[in-house]
Amino acid sequence: MIFVKIYRFFTKHKFLLYALMVVSSVVFAIFAAKAHFEEDLMKLLPKSDESESGLVFGNVKVKDKLFMQMTGAEPEVMVGYVDELMDSILANDEGIANTLYKLEPDMALNALDYAMMHVPSFVDTTMYARFDSAIAHADETMARNYELIMNDETGMATEMVSTDPLGLRECLMPDISGGMGFTLIDGHLFCADSTVALIFISPDFQTFNSQASHKLVSHLNQCIEQFQKAHPDVEVLMHGGAVESVGNASTMKRDIAITIGISLVLILLYLCLSFKSYNIIWQNVLPIVYGTIFALACMYWIKGGMSLMALGVGSVILGVALSYCLHVIVHQRFVGDVEQMLADEAIPVCLGCLTTIGAFLGLMFTQSELLKDFGLFATFALIGSTFFALVFLPHFLNVKDAKHSKKAFKLIDKINNYPYDRNPFIIIALCIFIVIGFIFSGKVQFDNDLKNIGYESDELHKSQKLYAEKNDHGGVQKYYAVTADDLDQALDANKALSATMDSLREAGDLFTYTPVVSILFQSQAEQERRNAAWKRYWTPEKVAQAMAAVKSAAVKNELSSDIFVPFQAMVEAEYEPGNLYESEVVPDGLLCNFIEETDGKFLILNAAQMSLENEAKVSDIIAAKPHAVVVDPLYYTGGMISLIHKDFNMALLISSIFVFVVLLLSFRNILISLLAFMPMFLSWYVVQGWMAILGLKFNMINIVISTFIFGIGVDYSIFVMKGLIEGQRQEGSKLLEYHKVAIFFSGLVLIIVMGAMLFAKHPTIVSIGECALIGMISTILITYTLQPLIFRWLMKIPFVKRRVEK
């Protein structure tokens, strides 16, 4: 037996043992500390997280925008408050690319200047009919002009009227202002009913940059907190990618720390009391710590780091490692002889480790980086922990120490020694439990929506709800975009998208959308077409007709008819195409809502509001259009997650085959191997079936736990099987009893940890707890009941009995 030989060798070379343990621990710790942790939720997806457009969503900035809202006071008061809050926020603008909460007065002047230089570019050919109507209604317009001019103190209104006496600007304005949906009060942005002041903050990093997100969100929260103390009359709410990401990560970390931390402390205390020794704590903890740093160091060497989410979920796997330590420690306490303990335990522990690793390695066949990270981390963690438990740990076990609390063990013995396999009620109940699980196993649903994995605080939800109510007609807002290699191509493609969105709006599928880009931004070719159309419309005859109408209307309204030279000059002027995108007329904070340049591609963005029910339908229609994309990476993840789900089923099949082959090689008996395989196989269907019955869904995270159930199921099964075989071979063998004690502690530990997870806030943690708890309970019940029952039946078959007793 190799581990016994290793034990003897190191017993004679203690210094070498300590040197190897210390040096390897230090080396692993150094490299583990260098590992980079990625918090990118997109790592859940296969690497092809792109739409057909080739757009890499991680780089799209509009999805990272933060929304801040202020409500509770009169708009005029909030104007000052917003300035005050933004002054404090922008005092440290690290992480902020730009903000939009007010439009500077010069923006209007600059916009007017640009518009005057490129008037025809803003006139769609369909508007000329409105121009005809405007000329025909010159008298009515001039009556309004009269009022404007008479109240003019600065000459500005007069200037406007003399340039546009027919009110042609009004032919354009409804299309623009109608689509924006915001109200301007003293230059500040408010929702349409003016009750909520709006602030948009664009970070200069991606939402999944957790460090930068955390820093910015903390700064914003601090500013809001200070502001609220000074102005309790208003409420400031905030939501957006970084806020959700930070809230999600911190809740997950806190939940893991509280649930696993507290339950582990309680468990270790229980173990101390049961074994009447505090040594049990470090004896359990050290192998796990060693395994963890070994796994992290390996992850660093292989990939430079790993997904933090994979580490979080992977921490559950340490429960399996704890199970191996418990087997070693518990068995040592019973036999009081390290060599005997190693002779009894090394094979089942190694076999358990190998099969569990096989279950995890199946994940390497998936396309998701998260699952691969999880599979690798779990594999290395188990190798490290098992190595420590079988090589280093035995030297620290007190040979004479066989103390344990008789009371505690009496109870454990009572539970373990109960003949579950001979109680027909339990057997029938378990069979019904399994059959029901089997029947319903096909009905378990897989939740493709990654949004449901995230945690949303009440404040965040309130902010999202308020924004939706005030700006999205109570529905949802989505960005739809076209992408192209250059701006002109993108602008032309956006025309087609606008036409689609117009028809969706007319059909009632959209509440509204913002056609700002299609109105204001035109390609050079389109501008040339429009300039030509302008010239064709404003013939000398048309100019004469318009001027005659204007002058006549002016005279009728007692205005000088000589003031309209600018109007005539405007319609007769020669125009060249402009470049509004590069003109700096539209501030960055506003422009980034419409046009974005990313990865050498131009995105033209159109914000649309719709009901939640129509979201999928509208997105599907738009996504099918050429060049069009739904600016929501999660929209494209549904198919990918389904693909991963299929991948995952394939991975489970591969794992199962691997585990079965290892069992077959180990037991060298197909019936015994099938029996050892049974708890793992059955429990998977029981988990699926009972999750379906309880209305629980699998998702990208908790499905990983199925590998854990596989791992733990096969471990318990191997230990029980070894105990059963040993009992068959040697009359009075206590191996099964000892193994059952270790399984009891391992099961108790895991059930308490998983049970504690049900009280977490984070939905992912809760779902892990639910899934694992069902799996654990079914595994233990099958292992304690059906496995011995079927083994007993098998032993009635002489051929099998002979093979087992060999």
Binding site: L109, N110, M116, T158, S162, I563, A569
Partner: protein, 176 residues
């Protein structure tokens, strides 16, 4: 090289022509459309070739300032700051005003696509810039009266294409 030298000399001459001046001014804006005239007055301070302040005492609080490429104004409480690099019309307005005040009327004529005529009247030189072509924006006519003794403007008349005429008259001109 010769071209560069010419430009440098021209720039130096322009810079030298700029003087620090302070004066009282009256502003009279005739709006042809209504026949109304809006009167205003204040103090003008010229600091350099590209910096000036017009601070109104009537209506109090109004101002019009040029500082480099930036123009800031307060018209009846409506404040705005404009970067003239981004606004062609404001850039032309800024350049025209500064050039006229600094005696660089030839440049103002070029900027406004105008013909020029110069007439001497007593101790003054009257320069008239007349737009060659009607335009949607800008001035149809600019008349600047310079005091011959020191080439400082004593009266500026800006006539827009819509007939609005704004006249500035300087008094108490003090060189500093």
């Amino acid at each position: 090289m010769k071209k560069i030298l010419t430009i440098v000399i021209a720039m130096l001459a322009f810079a030298a022509s700029a003087q620090k001046v302070e004066a009282r001014f009256t502003e009279s804006k005739f709006i042809k459309a209504t026949g109304k005239t809006v009167e205003a007055e204040g103090t003008l301070k010229l600091y350099s070739a590209d910096k000036m302040d017009m601070t109104y005492t009537k209506p109090a609080g109004d101002y019009f300032k040029i500082d480099g490429k930036t123009m800031s104004m307060n018209l009846r409480g409506k404040k705005s700051v404009v970067d003239t690099e981004k606004n062609a019309a404001m850039r032309t307005q800024r350049n025209t005003l500064m050039n006229c005040i600094n005696g660089n009327w030839k440049q103002a004529a070029t900027d406004n696509n105008a013909e020029t005529s110069v007439v001497e009247k007593g101790g003054n030189k009257v320069v008239t810039l007349s737009a060659k072509k009607a335009a949607p924006r800008g001035y149809s006519k600019i008349i600047i009266t310079y005091r011959k003794s020191d080439n400082l403007p004593v009266e500026l008349v800006f006539e827009e294409f819509n007939g609005t005429v704004t006249t500035y008259k300087m008094s108490n001109i003090v060189k500093k």
